[in-house]
Amino acid sequence: MAASDELGALTRAFSGFGVDEKALISILGKWHQEQRQTFRKGTRDFFTEDERQFERWDDRHVIQLQHEFLRFKHAIVLWTMHPWERDARLLKEALHKGPQHKVLVEVACTRLSDELLGARKAYHSLFDHSIEEDVAFGIHGPERKLLVALVSSYRYEGTKVNEEIAKSEAKFLSSAIKGAAGNKNLLENEEVVRIVATRSKPHLTSVYNHYKEITGHYLDEDLDGELYLQETVQCLCKPQKYFSKVLDASMGPDVDELKKEAVTRIIVTRADVDMKLIKEEYNHKYGVSLPNKIEDVANGNYRDFLLTLVARGD
């Protein structure tokens, strides 16, 4: 391989998601001192000129590299965890790492009732508190009531839906959204919170459909800009749409570490649930297959592992 190609391959091996272990071994393993020196001098991104005349690793990049090397390990550990422990830890991180309150919505709304209950039990064991008290105590904004309600929910899992009630709740939502336009205070509307936090998923799907019939718009699109409510409705009614959206946003250029972690989280937690549907939705929306996109942005063992998970259920 020509020197410039190797440099390119190496830079590539250190960028994106995960590291290309094979490239690192085959290239770096045979480089002499001088070649490594050239690498250091030539890659301004990773190395900076120290005042005492040597090239030193940029600290930020070393931290980033650490994340990339650990990405595979993180995926494996997450994959092998009991789903209850996994969700409990994700909920805890959502409260502290970031914080990323939207992940609270994601976990609370896309799991089955008994799965969420299991996560709440595991949370007790792991953290000696209930998720309810930590969310209620740690969140102070207008979203508190919604988030506490979502993590405490135990929705009816049956298919029976009262269409009359669904229709009237859709009507209610339509006028509530119109009335709140611009004020962004739908979160304070206790009826809105009641509907999204207590109704069963089939019921909410029916509400979603009635809303379209009544207003000609999609409920989640009309909630654009509404803190948390848009995600809530999407997770409950159109989870695959939500997951593809987050995946795509997380695999974009110059994404921060928290966003990057979403890729592992979503693929590991959905691999055995609705990955096939997510792939279809992703392809439909972004015109490229999810496996191809992963091939593009991810490296090495991490990439291979993700591709294997994504291919399950095919």
Partner: protein
Amino acid sequence: MATLIFPEHPSPVADAEALRKACQGWGTDEKTIISILGRRNAIQRKLIRQAYEDMYQEDLIKRLESELSGDFEKALYQWTLDLEERDAVLLNVAIKQVPLPDYRVIVEISCIRSHEELLAIKRAYQIRYKHSVEEDLAQHTTGDIRQLLVGLVSVYRYKGDEINVRLASSEAEILHRVISEKAIFNHEETIRIITTRSKAQVLATLNHYKDDYGTSITKHLKDGSSHEFLFALRTAIRCICDHHKYYEKVVRRALNKPGTDEDSLTRVIITSAEKGLKDIKELFQKRNSMSLEHAVAKDTWGDYKAFLLTLLGKED
């Protein structure tokens, strides 16, 4: 502790036969019904119901409903249902009550039942009514009372005994501040503390309140315009702190009330007959200088009375 006396080896088939016989022909043999069902525990009653269904292709409960009436029928109906079904039915009736839901029942069940019991009740509710109890409850309540009740029903409290003393102190202070600033009675923090903290932590907080402010919090929760909310809040606090003491009070009030509140009396005795009734009886004796059996015998009549006394453990 239970107060029931039941035979060593009852046969569900024999019991089902005897119950069938008691319901046939003119009139009903209430005495037999009481002496059988009143002396069987939950598992035995379930077996009898199953045997009856197998033998006669009929739900025993439906048969009893048609044969009996009044307070006796209500009591026996509750008694014969499975434990989770009973509480699910009580919840549904309480939620749908007009003009206002029966907050007391909802608070009792949410705060006194164990985690596993409450979960089983919620599942039974979903199976029976095709809705979750949370959605029905939320639909029939509004404002602060909705926040409180839905919170109490939904919470899955941490079960440990550890308490954070600093937190208990600071949350007692929060409660005191909220209560003393009556003009801006914002219940959010009160609801948060009562509906999310573990029972041990809540107790610690309430004890701190008593230590720091001289009196138990329930005394301070009396005035104000949010009448029903405060009532439900006080009930929740009492149920969390000492539910036997709470039940004794309910029963005492039910009996002292002119005309007797049979619904409350039934509910407490039936719910506790296999768990805790002995403690309630002791408390009652201490508080009222007479036994609960005596008080019940004084204020109730007929088959209803005979049934309650059987549950209270009086031998014929």
